[in-house]
């Protein structure tokens, strides 16, 4: 159990993890730094959904990230 918790903290620190967290506006995001949206390579996986570095994000998430709202 403990092992998984540590991994979860690690993943939040990953850049795209941080971006997704920002896009969601979660409190944990305040601790993390964003990166330019150009780093994102998204592939569409369904209407309005994209697979980005393992994350499943919405078009609105990507727009928010691209507009540096995060």
């Amino acid at each position: 159990m403990r092992r998984h918790m540590l991994e979860r903290r690690e993943f939040l620190k990953g850049t795209l993890g941080a971006l997704a967290t920002f896009a969601l506006g979660l409190p944990a995001a305040r601790l993390l730094a964003a990166e330019p949206a150009s780093a994102l390579a998204a592939s569409q996986i369904g209407p309005g959904l994209h697979l980005v570095d393992g994350w499943i994000l919405t078009t609105a998430d990507l727009r928010a990230i691209a507009a540096h709202e995060v």
């Binding site: 979860r8 997704a20 967290t21 969601l24 996986i45 393992g54 994350w55 499943i56 994000l57």
Partner: protein, 509 residues
């Protein structure tokens, strides 16, 4: 009555029993009890004693030559009560769809349906002490969702078969329970169609052994051992017993258990949720059945100093007494820091972060090369040790990826949260974690003597009788034709009850 093969007079074995049941775990004990109800005389032969011992556990030692798996002598227990001595009690019957063949999973499906097992639900509930089914209905979704059902497990306390049934079996005048009796040979007629006896030895090196004769024999020694014994009892037929079609030991599967994604939720939650695919989604994506668990990060609730002190009073007791309570599953006081550990560790507890993982347990695709074979080393009885060659297939990876993606899509669409697939799962090829990194399997050993209508496709028929034999049956999850995603003991208990009924019918014919 109860006997110990180490000490007892074996003269009693002049008697021809109605049924000789080999293996005193959930399957064997259940079958024996049903048969005894009809007045049949049963020999219930158990290899171990009443406690775990080095010498009785040793024949379970084997080799893993396939995917990383647990040591074979730790994932099962070889004494009275069998692996129920440390099972965890997760229960759920198979789904109707689990019995149905799927084009994309060759040989899948059972020669029976769920309706054949349903009549045994009430008694299986009672045996496993699980609450009535109506207490655990599937849960609706708040939103429209075609991909998943929400489902619930039911929980056995967990029932320890040895503890629950030892007195009843000892008092029975229908069942002779033998401890420390290891099956070492099974003489058959020349054609290999009829078992003539079952030979047992105790652990004494010079024990010549003794043979139990019965009209019918049930092999119920666990999902790996049933196959290993059929293969290793090769004294008469080089391929072993019931293995003309070379099917014994093949199709080994577990329910692989892996953390497949991390999740950020909109709001913190402390509730575990379980999801499984709808039939529509299963067929559309050509995947196999799975149970997906959303497990939010757990935060123990804050414990006040007064509460901690009150609970900590229990810490003054003897260590042995506390250990006994722990073994019995009682919640113990946290005795760190002289009994105030719970207060110290949770003081000023942070607000839970909205984090979770998803863990999958799924049905593997049938694979004849995933199998139990025999190694070259022999155990103390001269029988070749088991060798497990466990595999996962592309279909298995596809099932995990599809489940993770679909759940990720669900929570993004509903804005419940966002999900990230674990890197090992998105890697090409997938880098399956080993036992040092993840749970890997449920220690559910299935498929190695699978049930099939056609003798070329499996080992036992729809009545659990070994194809081509007249009086040899198999009990346990090794007979599962297709494993579904639910933990196996509930289903194998239903099957043992059904087997008991079948043999009762044959005995009275």
């Amino acid at each position: 009555m109860r006997f110990d093969a180490k000490a007892a007079d074996r003269g009693g074995f002049e008697e021809v029993y109605d049924v000789c049941v080999i293996g005193g775990g959930p399957a064997g004990i259940t079958a024996a009890r049903v048969l005894a109800r009809s007045g049949a005389r049963i020999a219930l032969m158990e290899a171990g004693g009443l406690e775990i011992e080095v010498e009785s556990q040793d024949p379970y030692v084997g080799e893993n030559v396939g995917l990383d798996y647990f040591p074979l002598d730790t994932s099962r227990l070889r004494f009275f009560g069998g692996t129920s001595n440390h099972w965890a009690g997760w229960c759920r019957a198979l789904e109707p769809v689990d019995f149905v063949p799927k084009r994309y999973n060759p040989l899948s499906g059972w020669p029976i349906t769920k309706l054949d097992l349903d009549p045994y639900r009430a008694e299986a509930d009672q045996i496993l002490d699980v609450p009535n089914e109506s207490e655990a209905p599937n849960l609706p979704f708040a939103q429209k969702e075609y991909r998943f059902h929400r489902f619930q497990f039911r929980w056995s306390p967990p029932t320890r078969f040895a503890e629950k049934y030892l007195d009843e079996l000892t008092a029975s005048d229908r069942i002779d329970l033998w401890l420390n009796a290891n099956l070492v040979a099974m003489p058959m007629d020349e054609a290999g169609t009829k078992v003539l006896g079952a030979t047992f030895r105790s652990y004494a090196p010079d024990d010549p052994g003794f043979t139990v004769k019965a009209r019918y024999y049930v092999l119920a020694t666990g999902g790996i051992e049933n196959a290993r014994l059929l293969l290793a009892l090769d004294q008469q037929f080089p391929e072993g017993i019931g293995n003309r079609a070379d099917m014994v030991g093949r199709f080994f599967c577990d329910h692989p258990h892996f953390v497949i994604s991390d999740v950020v939720l909109r709001a913190p939650s402390q509730e575990r949720e379980y999801f499984m695919p709808t039939e529509e989604f299963l067929y559309e994506n050509e995947i196999l059945n799975f149970g997906l668990r959303l497990e939010p990060e757990y935060y123990p609730p804050e414990t006040g100093l007064t509460d901690a002190l009150i609970r900590g009073a229990g810490c003054g007791r003897d260590f042995g007494e506390r250990l006994a309570e722990k073994v019995l599953g009682r919640e113990l006081a946290n005795c760190d820091l002289g009994g105030v550990g719970a207060w110290w560790e949770t003081r000023g507890a942070p607000r839970p972060e909205p984090l979770a993982i998803t863990r999958i347990a799924f049905e593997q695709a049938l694979n004849p090369d995933s199998r139990v074979r025999l190694g070259t080393e022999r155990d103390a009885f001269g029988l070749r040790r088991p060798m497990l060659d466990w595999h996962m297939s592309e279909r298995d990876i596809h099932t995990m990826r599809t489940a993770a993606m679909a759940y990720g899509a669900h929570i993004a669409e509903q804005d419940i949260g966002r999900l990230k697939l674990r890197d090992w799962l998105t890697a090409e090829p997938a880098e399956i974690p080993g036992t040092d990194k993840d749970e890997v399997g449920g220690k559910h050993h299935m498929g190695t003597t699978r049930m099939s209508a056609d003798p070329r496709d499996g080992v036992v028929d729809a009545d659990c009788r070994v194809h081509g034999t007249d009086n040899l049956y198999v009990g346990g999850s090794s007979v599962f034709s297709t494993p579904g995603h639910s933990n196996p003991t509930y289903t194998l208990t239903q099957l043992a009850l059904r087997l008991g009924d079948h043999l009762t019918g044959r005995l009275s014919a």
